[in-house]
Structures are given as structure tokens and as C-alpha cells.
């Protein structure tokens, strides 16, 4: 059954490889600086390396699909996203796989009555505008600077060719590595908690844990996607929008990387703020959209005469279509699977104002006197939220607190779940605290968090230490998934 569920993840990986490889190697292949076969080979190797080495950096990462609470649901959501990306790849348009996944999850949210993450929707729409504009500005500036540098240095045409080729290859493999590292969690992350794999040791030289083996398989799927179907989208990016020179091809990839690094890297922001420096604002930047912006930026600085506006219009329509199509496919597939094949595509999440929840809400400074009559059980988030909004006007933050406090999630910490903890996933102190919860049951998820925080400082959030808190949140999510998987 695990293998069957994994197929949709692998299909998603394949689609991702076929589409997103264009973000890193599209311009190089389009300008014929690197042959498609060579680009696909390098891309495949580095995607796999990125997935196995850096994707496993947080073995608990579940990716976007982590919010889907039933494995059949996750299967359908991944499949809907994969079909969407596949369809647009066949048409040759560069689209964002993450946006397809978020769209498919919204389809699941709608179907299961869960709360729709409007923040994600907003980020997608912003990304359509922000990514190309930022990338276009950066690529235009970089192009001017590099063209001036080449003019001053008087580099021989063939040396420039050799340098550009090397730079394109380097940028390509670095991009492929981060493509693997950043996207593998979306491809197979959801399957990590239910993975049947055991750790493998290769003659004691290196080990592959269960997550890494999954990441390896996911990475292979991405690599196969690039090899078998990546050329079309690469050519759209590299020569479909406008004819490019090899130097422009490199500038486009460089601008894409710079924009992603400056405006989407939380690590860079933490580093700059940590050193008392002004940080770039974090904005939703998608690599698929940024690379198109980069190409346009260069074409515009050269007068804009060579831009094929019709193709650009089609690409923009494809961006808009991606999440919408994913929502529709996801919703319809879930409906069919749930009602025709009688599969459980979501675990109903009930809401109730328990005494503990009320206390928690009060401690967060929110008045609960007119919420006290919400003690009946509500079958899903949207109905509870509707009832809430009839009784009180809450802002987004308050609504978030009330919703998470009242979410019913009965769980019991079993020895089975404790035994399944990945060796490197948690600190010893964290594990000991978790062992002390053995046999206990909880009505709300946050009660596990509170119980763990009371038992050990390793589970306690520190105000102001965003990095540590994020780590604890990830660990908690991992524990929670583990308990769920063995429930």
C-alpha cells in the first residue's frame, strides 16, 4: 500500500523535474551553450545529491502536503498537483510546482471543510507580480554591469564563450542542488513518517537513513522527469520568449538566484538582522516566475523588440491556471475517491470549546464570556469558524489562537510511536521527555506541546529566538505525525 501511495509523489517528482529543470538550465540549453543531454545529466545528479544530502537536513520536513491529514488525501493532492504540472509541461509552459501543490491543498481544504489558507493564496498572487518584476530589475542591472565589465576586460570571444559555459554549468548545478534540497519534501516528505525502510550502511562508508532513501527515490523521479520530458519547457524559457545571447543566458540564471537569495532566504534575513544590519523584506518569490522575469528584463534593456508577447501572455495564463486547475482536479478526485471508492481522504477535525481550551484562550488575553456556549462539537473548521464569527468579532491573530486551542485531536502516546523515533531526529533530552508521556491521552494537540514544555527545557520556546523556536516547532510536528502514523 505504501508503494502505491508513493507513486503519486513520484509522479509529482517526475513532473517537477520535467518543469522546474528549466529554471536552472533552460537558458543554457536554449542558447545551445550546454546540450540538453548534458544539462539533464548534470541536473539529475545534483538534484539527487541535493535531495539526499540537504533535503534530509530536516528529516522531519513534510513540505506543503504536511497539512493534509490522511494519506489517501495526500495521495490525491499530490496526484492533482502532478497532473496539473504535467499538463502545463506538455504544453511547454514554465509553472510553479509549489503553487500547483498549494492549489491542490486548497481543493482538499474545500472538500474536507478545513480552513483555507488565504495567506498561501495571497502569496501565490503576489508571486505572479513580484517575482517577474524583481527578477527583471535585477537581470537588467546585472546585464548592464556584466556587459560593461566584458567591454573593459576585452575578453576574447572564445574565452568569453568558455567562461560563460563554465559559469552556466556552475549556476546550473548549484540551482539543481537547491532544487533537489528545497523540493524533495514536497515530493516524498509526506511519506517519511510511514516509510517502511530501514537504515542502510554501505560497507560502513556512509549510511542512508529511511528518510534519505525516500529522498533518493524522489530525487531519481525528478531526475527522470528532467531527462525524459524537460526539453520542451527549457526551450520555452531559453528561446521561446526571446532570442538570447549566452551571456544573457547566464545573467538570467544569476539574476534568478540573486533574487531568490535576497528576497526569499530566511537564513540571510536572520543573518543580517542578527548582525544589526537592515534586511531585505521577505517576499513570495517563485523560481519558475523569476526566471521568466529575468529573461524579460534583459530583453527590455536591449530595447524589447525581440520579445514574443504572445508567448508571454500564454505563460502568464498558465501561471494563473496552475492553482485553479489544481483546486478543481483535487476537489473532483477527492469527491470521487471518497464517495465512489469509499476511501477516507481526510480525518474529520472537530472543534469544541472545552474547559482547557477556554482557559488557554483566556490566558492569551481574549475574552471568552460570549464564546462559552460553543461547547457542542462542530464537525469541521469552517462550521466552527462560522459559529465563532456569529458571536464575536476576532482579528486574524485572535481567530488563529481560538481555532488552534479548540481543535479536537484525541491522541495517545504509545510505546510504538516512541520506538519509531528516528535516531537523529530528536535530542536525547527531548526523547526522554516524550517517553514520560507514555500512555497519556490528550484532547487537543497543544496539550502535548504544553506537557512536553513542562517536562523539559529542550521543548520550551524561547521568546526572541526565532531559529530555536522554529526547530522546536518542526520537532513537535514530527512527534505529532509519528503519533498519528502509529495511532
Amino acid at each position: 500500500m505504501f508503494a502505491f501511495f508513493l507513486t503519486s509523489g513520484l509522479f509529482l517528482g517526475w513532473s517537477l523535474g520535467a518543469n522546474d529543470a528549466a529554471n536552472v538550465f533552460g537558458t543554457a540549453v536554449g542558447t545551445r551553450m550546454i546540450s540538453f543531454r548534458k544539462a539533464a545529466a548534470y541536473c539529475g545528479i545534483f538534484v539527487i545529491l541535493g535531495a539526499v544530502i540537504s533535503g534530509a537536513g530536516a528529516a522531519k520536513t513534510l513540505g506543503e502536503l504536511g497539512s493534509v491529514n490522511a494519506i489517501v488525501g495526500a495521495f490525491v493532492v499530490a496526484l492533482a498537483a502532478a497532473v496539473t504540472v504535467y499538463w502545463l509541461t506538455v504544453l511547454g509552459y514554465p509553472v510553479s510546482t509549489t503553487q500547483a501543490i498549494v492549489g491542490a491543498i486548497i481543493g482538499w481544504d474545500l472538500f474536507s471543510g478545513a480552513l483555507i489558507d488565504y495567506g498561501s493564496l495571497e502569496r501565490i498572487v503576489l508571486s505572479w507580480v513580484i517575482s517577474p518584476i524583481l527578477a527583471a530589475i535585477f537581470s537588467a542591472l546585472l546585464y548592464k554591469a556584466i556587459a560593461y565589465g566584458i567591454k573593459c576586460l576585452k575578453i576574447h570571444m572564445f574565452r568569453l564563450d568558455a567562461l560563460t559555459r563554465a559559469a552556466l554549468l556552475f549556476a546550473g548545478v548549484a540551482g539543481a542542488y537547491s532544487l533537489g534540497a528545497n523540493n524533495i519534501s514536497n515530493v516524498v516528505g509526506i511519506f517519511v513518517p510511514i516509510s517502511p525502510f530501514a537504515e542502510i550502511s554501505f560497507l560502513g562508508w556512509f549510511r542512508l537513513n529511511a528518510a534519505q532513501q525516500l529522498f533518493l527515490i524522489g530525487g531519481l523521479a525528478i531526475a527522470v522527469g528532467t531527462f525524459t520530458y524537460g526539453k520542451k519547457v527549457m526551450l520555452t524559457v531559453g528561446e521561446g520568449i526571446t532570442e538570447m545571447s549566452p551571456v544573457a543566458a547566464f545573467v538570467a540564471v544569476l539574476a534568478n538566484a540573486v533574487v531568490l537569495f535576497l528576497f526569499a532566504s530566511q537564513d540571510l534575513q536572520a543573518f543580517l538582522l542578527g548582525h544589526g544590519l537592515p534586511a531585505f523584506p521577505l517576499v513570495p518569490v517563485s523560481s519558475s516566475q523569476a526566471i521568466v522575469g529575468s529573461v524579460i528584463g534583459i530583453a527590455l534593456i536591449k530595447g524589447g523588440r525581440g520579445i514574443r508577447w504572445r508567448m508571454l501572455g500564454e505563460i502568464t495564463m498558465a501561471w494563473i491556471a496552475t492553482p485553479i486547475v489544481a483546486v478543481i482536479i483535487s476537489f473532483i478526485s477527492l469527491f470521487i475517491l471518497q464517495n465512489v471508492f469509499q476511501q477516507k481522504t481526510f480525518i474529520p477535525v472537530e472543534y469544541r470549546m472545552t474547559a482547557e481550551a477556554e482557559q488557554r484562550i483566556r490566558s492569551a488575553g481574549i475574552r471568552t464570556d460570549h464564546l462559552a456556549d460553543l461547547q457542542e462539537i462542530y464537525p469541521n473548521a469552517s462550521q466552527f469558524q462560522k459559529a465563532l464569527s456569529q458571536r464575536a468579532i476576532l482579528d486574524d491573530r485572535e481567530m488563529g489562537i481560538v481555532m488552534s486551542a479548540t481543535e479536537i485531536d484525541r491522541t495517545m502516546v504509545t510505546s510504538q510511536s516512541i520506538n519509531r523515533i528516528n535516531r537523529s531526529a530528536l535530542k536525547d533530552e527531548q526523547k526522554r521527555a516524550l517517553q514520560q508521556l507514555w500512555g497519556k491521552t490528550f484532547e487537543h494537540r497543544w496539550q502535548i506541546e504544553t506537557a512536553l514544555a513542562e517536562l523539559s527545557p529542550a521543548w520550551r520556546m524561547t521568546p526572541g529566538d526565532a531559529e530555536k523556536n522554529k526547530e522546536i516547532m518542526r520537532d513537535l510536528d514530527y512527534v505529532y505525525r509519528l503519533i498519528r502514523a502509529t495511532d
Binding site: 545551445r32 576585452k154 576574447h156 570571444m157 572564445f158 574565452r159
Partner: protein, 216 residues
């Protein structure tokens, strides 16, 4: 490392430089050959003929090798076609110099003494125009922004060669006591020399377009 990549000469760069050297040398050898012929020093003329033939063969070999490299290694994909055409054009100029010396060897034109200086002057102008094209080509590969500085010299020398040809033809046909066939033979040689400058100008025009394409 970047510095070493920048400083190291890549094989094909060397070959192109050497190929352009051959074109440039062919012009000088052609001038030497004509000097020797006009002086009646046939031994020196034969040596020049042998040297220019070797230069032509070497040029052909280099051109083939460069063209094969361009396609085998998919170098400069966006300018590959232009560079190929440019090399063929330059090779054609080299062949023109060789052909001229061969024609002297085969047809033994009887050039009257009073035309010697004009013929020398004409060949010098044509060779200078080719030399300016060679410099333009080198700039095209190394410093594309300075190509224009050389191209205008090609045009200058082509105009000079036009002037000398006109003057020479007037002198030939204005001279009494010469058979018409003799006059026409001399005119043919004057035109052959002038054509070298004309072709050099055509190459420079095409080169100008290649430059514009690469600058876009």
C-alpha cells in the same frame, strides 16, 4: 583560477590568430613577388610563388581545423555561422593573392616600365585594405568595440585603389604604340589587383553586420 582562464590562450584562439597571420603574410609575399617580377628577378619570384602556395595550404588547413572545432565543440553557438563565413571570406582573400602571383607566372604580362610604380602602388593599396580587414577581424574576436576603428581604414584603402586603377587604366589606354590586346592584358591585371581591395571592402561590410548582431 579565473585569471588563468582569462590569460590562457585556448587552442582555437591560437589557430585563428595564426590563420589571420597567413592572410596578412600572403599580402606581403604578393608584394614581394610582384617586385621581383617587375625587376625581372625570376628566381626570387619563384621563391615567392612557392612561399605563397605554402601559406595558402597552411591557411586552408587552419580554416578547416577551426571550422571543425566550431561545430564539434559547439563553440560560440550564436556567432558560429558568422565566424565561419568570415573565415571563408578571409580565405578567399588569401586565395586572391595566391591567384594573382600564379597569373603572373602563367601569363607573363609585359608591363611597361612607366607602369611599374602604379602597379606597385595599386597592390600596396589592396594589401593595406586586406591588412585593415585582418585587424578588424582580430578586433572582432578580442575587442568588438574597436572594430569600427579598423573598418573605416578598409574603406579608405579601397578608395585609394580605385583612384590608382583609374589613373593606371588612363595611362595604359592613353599610351601610343601599344597593341589593343596588350593594353587589355594590362588592364586585366590592374583589375585583378583592384578586385582584392573590392573584396576586402565587401568582407568589412559583412563584418560590420556581424558586429551589430553580436552587440544586440
Amino acid at each position: 583560477m579565473a585569471e588563468s582562464i582569462l590569460k590562457r590562450k585556448i587552442g582555437i584562439e591560437k589557430e585563428i590568430d595564426e590563420f589571420l597571420d597567413q592572410v596578412s603574410e600572403a599580402g606581403l609575399m604578393c608584394q614581394n613577388g610582384m617586385d621581383a617580377y617587375l625587376k625581372g628577378n625570376m628566381e626570387a619570384f619563384s621563391q615567392c610563388l612557392a612561399s605563397i602556395r605554402d601559406t595558402e595550404h597552411r591557411g586552408d588547413d587552419l580554416r578547416r581545423s577551426i571550422e571543425q572545432d566550431l561545430y564539434r565543440k559547439t563553440l560560440i553557438p550564436e556567432s558560429r555561422g558568422d565566424v565561419m563565413e568570415l573565415l571563408e571570406d578571409m580565405d578567399a582573400l588569401l586565395d586572391r593573392f595566391t591567384g594573382l602571383i600564379w597569373q603572373f607566372e602563367i601569363e607573363h604580362p609585359d608591363i611597361c616600365v612607366e607602369f611599374h610604380e602604379d602597379f606597385k602602388e595599386l597592390l600596396r593599396c589592396s594589401s593595406e585594405s586586406v591588412e585593415a580587414v585582418v585587424r578588424s577581424c582580430r578586433a572582432f574576436f578580442k575587442d568588438i568595440y574597436s572594430v569600427a576603428n579598423h573598418i573605416h581604414k578598409v574603406i579608405f584603402w579601397e578608395k585609394e585603389s580605385d583612384k590608382v586603377t583609374t589613373r593606371l587604366q588612363r595611362a595604359i589606354f592613353g599610351r601610343p604604340n601599344l597593341r589593343l590586346s596588350h593594353k587589355m592584358h594590362l588592364r586585366f591585371f590592374a583589375k585583378q589587383v583592384e578586385r582584392i581591395a573590392d573584396e576586402a571592402e565587401d568582407v568589412s561590410d559583412r563584418l560590420n553586420i556581424y558586429v551589430i548582431k553580436r552587440m544586440l
